[in-house]
Symmetry: C2
Subunit: 336 residues, 2 copies
């Protein structure tokens, strides 16, 4: 079977079984998020779009699925000392919430440039914040230090089979909610979300097309696909604060094998998509969450004959944690 050969157990850090197990594990705690559609947005691109609104997930982003699965997977002795992670905010908040549900401490290393609302979410859910510099190296070093001091378990934001399995539950829901879907567009950063979504979706429906959406200023996944190996960038520059991480050893093979292509968009296209989400879809979406719509509206997608037959497109709206002032400033700047 094609499905087996594409996504067999040995190949990747997660498979359809681990994703189904994750669904059973998190079912009681995670929201089954709704799928929204808009004929106005459909008319903009001549396709049918189905927005899987993970901004309505607990903590305001898909990250709760993976974090909850990881924390509920720990045995009692592992869990007792708590969990550690580093994150620009959404994974941190999600891990804090999942740790709170299990009644264990969560130590989160947060870069100084993380959006205020995401940091507030961490606090709201009882996570203990340790600040680091913005660079990924500083985040990782600080996390390692905390790990040594507390004896807690490291839960990486994406490079972890339990995380990938949790995120994959999105596809189980989406393909049940909308049977016709032939293509899913997913933001790519560290690759945890797209790995889970791709493994589950291609297992259930081998013909499905998985496209990644990535900002121009942090297009390491597109460069990795082109180079045939993981490429890390010296710096990233994009409004999409959730899309600045690089692929890891567990997510790269999935992106390499199961992601059909990567659509790179400009920040200005992301801002325009955020405006459409607010004005037409009536949903508060952060830049990373709007990038799928930006991709589907971009010339590079619309004019590519390879995607002409993508008619029913699922778009993963990954999160909605955005300071309103930042949204407003972005829109005003875009009009200058």
């Amino acid at each position: 079977m094609e499905a087996d050969s594409l996504t067999s157990t040995k190949k990747y850090a997660a498979d359809i079984s681990s994703i189904r197990e994750a669904q059973l594990r998190i079912n009681l705690y995670a929201h089954k998020t709704p799928v929204l559609s808009s004929e106005t947005l459909n008319s903009f691109c001549g396709r049918k779009l189905y927005f899987k609104c993970e901004c309505f997930q607990k903590g305001g982003a898909f990250k709760f699925r993976g974090a909850c699965n990881a924390i509920l997977s720990l045995d009692d002795s592992q869990a007792a000392k708590g969990v550690v992670t580093h994150s620009s905010g959404n994974h941190a908040a999600a891990l804090s919430l999942a740790a709170k549900i299990r009644g264990i401490p969560a130590y989160v290393v947060v870069p100084k440039n993380a959006p205020k609302c995401k940091v507030e979410n961490v606090r709201r859910y009882g996570g203990q914040i340790i600040w680091s510099e913005a660079a990924i190296e500083s985040r990782e070093e600080t996390a390692t230090k905390v790990l040594q001091e507390t004896g807690a378990v490291m839960i990486h934001p994406y490079n972890d089979g339990r995380i990938i399995s949790g995120q994959g539950t999105i596809s189980l829901e989406l393909l049940e909610q909308v049977l016709e879907i032939d293509t899913i567009i997913v933001p790519v950063s560290g690759g945890g979300l797209i790995s889970g979504v791709a493994i589950a979706a291609k297992s259930l429906k081998p013909s499905i097309r998985i496209l990644a959406a990535e900002p121009k200023g942090a297009d390491d996944a597109a460069q990795s696909k082109a180079a045939g190996e993981i490429v890390k960038l010296p710096e990233t520059k994009t409004i999409a604060d959730g899309l600045r991480a690089f692929l890891g050893e567990f997510t790269w093979p999935v992106v390499r094998d199961l992601v059909d292509d990567i659509i790179v968009v400009e920040d200005s296209e992301i801002v325009e998509a955020m405006r459409h989400c607010y004005e037409i879809l009536k949903v508060a979406v952060e830049p990373s969450g709007a990038i799928g719509l930006a991709a589907v509206l971009s010339d590079s997608f619309r004019n590519n004959p390879a995607w002409k037959d993508s008619e029913h497109i699922g778009i993963i709206v990954s999160g909605g944690n955005l300071d309103l002032g930042i949204l407003w400033d972005s829109l005003c700047k875009a009009e200058l």
Copy 2:
């Protein structure tokens, strides 16, 4: 049966049968809107809140339900000359869209102070705009003139049994989506929405409590309940542009008999609720749509012993058509 005595056919312009018929009529065209919940918002008020998100309805507001039912109820000869209405925007856009679906013209009288995004919706759906002054009298006069000139059918925004029946379909959905609901909080303006919601909900579940939410600067419904007759105000002043109309002859009896109480809130409470909707619920909500949350968070609701046993509260989020600049300005002003 209590349900029959409360909502029998003879008493009101709509009943459970006309509401069920409306549901069959509009089913193919209207969205079944999702119900969202947030443990953070629940913790703010110590109750379980269920947000029925009519901002995700076609046209961005519940109004499409009534407009679609009214237009699909017309026989072919009536429909041929088109429809006329006056509206601050949401009903106008909804009627334009429903008319477009049926392939007939819609003439809409729009007051000069209507929000830009609502007027754009009318244009997007092909409605023909005729401007009037802001006062309700000017709106009605202009509509009558258009009516005479075109021979079209008048579809009043709320004082019409077909409209009330369409809006009532919200309760059919909500009580199926969340079985535990014991209270529904509904914005009140002209009363079409709350009449439909109350008739359907009290027919299905006679013990249910229906509370209206109304802005202090347009509290004609609260004054009407107190006086025992329709009170019209010389002027209204509120940020909630959708809640400036007065009860009509068909909606007043329902509000008088089936609405348990009216909670009056300040504009500042509405703005704070809009902020919560954006930041916590991740939903773009217009002031009229946020008033239910404002009511449930208000001291007058929380400290009233009569509502102590309202544990599972449905909140009708009536619409999401709000210029982002206006939301931002409101929030900035609120912080001064």
